[in-house]
Amino acid sequence: MSAETGRPPLEGAALAAESGRAAGPPLTVGAILRRRFLRHYLAVASAVVLIVLALATLAAPLIEAMLGLDAEQVNLLGRFQGPSAAHPLGTDELGRDLLLRLLYGGRVSLLVGLMAALFAAVIGTVVGLIAGYYGGALDAVLMRLTDGVIALPLLPLLIVLAALDLTKLGLPEAFANSESASLYRIVFLIAIVGWTTVARLVRGAALSLKAREFVRAAEALGASGPRIMFVHILPNAVSPIVVATTLSVGGVILFESVLSFLGLGVQPPIPSWGNMLTNAQELIWSAPLLAVYPGLLIFITVIAFNFLGDGLQDALDPRAIQ
């Protein structure tokens, strides 16, 4: 949802008709899109939920100071405490404050999810533009590759990739064994399997855009292939990219949580919602709530991103007018 000012109403009879129906001065494209989006009340609610979650995780150090606690403070005498004034959600199996763990874990999960989705969107956009614009054999090869990646059982392969010894790939040992290596690794891993949806949508957009007059004109003026792809086609394919990226964030966060849960993603002591559940299965008899909270937050975040993507799709898709 970008700048709604200064742009004249344009792009398609559908939008024009919609702005014409409204009383008063004709609406800009942005105003129409915003109106369509706001009608999608689930998407609006999801946006609010996500903003609140993001702000809460950003405020984690403040809340930590307010409660007068230390998020990493282990207290073996105070394990599995119930909710109290000192610990609003109680404590975990090592006596750490659960609320603070959830907030710091949320920082990691949200950040990894957004980074991986953006990285995947970049790969998908480049693949889609090349396949759609150049067409022919290149298109066929790239799309067979895309179908292949979609069809493969990804989780077993990701587990292998996550178990690789980074030093055998020639990476310096200091990096391979550092705490943050697991973060970079999981962002990279999810991106190399998560780009397919964006690639297909961008390819479709590029196919239809390359036959348009402004692209033909640029070709006639002698613009190079990359210039046409990135300067002329890409800006006009922004809405499918935004929709596909938003929709893929949910799936990416799920992948992160599964891998971290299996012990192959974000490594403790860095908390993430996924690795907070690693020991949950042993705790379900003694402290079932510890197994509920992190999963609930993953669920809420993922469903909110999916509703948001759905709402954006309805708002940005010119065919979806009711």
Partner: protein, 316 residues
């Protein structure tokens, strides 16, 4: 048609060879090698012994040579021994493949049995409370982490209610009843985790079919709603869904891996996970390849089903 099948099978075989080389290379990049494991089991081995053993087993050769050796043995039916189980790899994998087929098969059929009617009903009554409810269920199904769903089901049905076992394989002499009891929660998890996407595809595809001219024609000539929906719209709406089914096979297998690991169901997915975590290179290699083979075959089958459902498609 026959030449098309042959062509697809040859293509799949090429992909399989490519994948086997890729997986072989990746497994070579996992921490340690078999000799490291021997050293940790027997500290008396000197570095000179280790070097000799590496040379003896060809581990000092370049990767292409090692892959060639592996492929030569595999083509003669020698897939090696499992380190974790001390048994030939195939003797472990085949019964577990059976367990996975049972889990995935039942879940898949159940998911379809829920998704097809739900998607059609939602498409017939768009923007009603029914459509809204189906949509919410579908979104919840897509968004729930499968391992957390398994934990919730265990808390509800094993811990609180105590109706079902929390996991494990049924005892060999337990009969059909015990078998079904142990299968119930894994099947429920995998079904719920895969039904959401199917409902959304079915609904979208049915909406599209209901907009077509032939549906209007069928209505205009006075067919009952039932005949229009089942005989005309549904048949055509199923065509894109079949393609999606083939593409979702890999996702279903990933779901099976999580489900089996959570419930201790001795299937392919759990075996692959355990073998990778336990540095069981031979077992991991063949397990991953079997998963790839089944995926490729599912894709070929879906293409054929596609041609069978839609007579307009002709293959050269």
């Amino acid at each position: 048609m026959l030449s098309y099948i042959v062509q697809r099978l040859v293509e799949s075989l090429l992909v399989l060879v490519l994948m086997s080389f890729l997986i072989f290379g990746l497994i070579g990049l996992m921490p340690g090698d078999p000799i490291d494991l021997m050293i940790s089991a027997n500290p008396d081995l000197t570095p000179q012994d280790a070097e000799r053993l590496r040379a003896l087993h060809g581990l000092d050769q370049p990767i292409v040579t090692r892959y060639g050796n592996w492929l030569g043995a595999a083509l003669q039916g020698d897939f090696g021994y499992s380190r974790l189980f001390s048994q030939p790899v195939m003797e472990i994998l085949l019964p577990r493949l059976g367990n996975t087929v049972i889990l995935m098969g039942i879940s898949f059929v159940l998911a379809l049995a829920i998704a097809i009617p739900a998607g059609i009903l939602a498409a017939l009554r768009p923007r009603t409370w029914l459509d809204g409810t189906v949509n919410m269920i579908a979104f919840a199904g897509i968004s729930i982490p499968p391992f957390w769903l398994a934990i919730l089901l265990i808390i509800a049905f094993a811990v609180l209610l105590g109706w079902l076992p929390a996991g494990g394989m049924p005892p060999a002499d337990g009969g059909v009843g015990a078998y079904l009891l142990h299968l119930a929660l894994p099947v429920a998890t995998l079904t719920l985790a895969s039904v959401g996407g199917l409902i959304r595809f079915m609904r979208a595809s049915m909406m599209e079919a209901l907009r077509q001219d032939y549906v209007r024609t069928a209505r205009a000539k006075g067919l009952s709603t039932r005949d229009v929906v089942v005989g005309h719209a549904m048949r055509n709406a199923m065509i894109p869904v079949v393609t999606i089914l083939a593409l979702s096979f890999g996702t279903l297998f990933s779901g099976a891996l999580i489900t089996e690991t959570m419930f201790g169901w001795l299937g392919m997915g759990k075996t692959i996970y355990d073998s990778i975590m336990g540095n069981d290179y031979n077992l991991a290699m063949i397990g991953l390849l079997l998963a790839t083979v089944t995926t490729l075959l599912a894709n070929v089958l879906a293409d054929l089903a596609y041609a069978w459902l839609d007579p307009r498609i002709r293959y050269r």
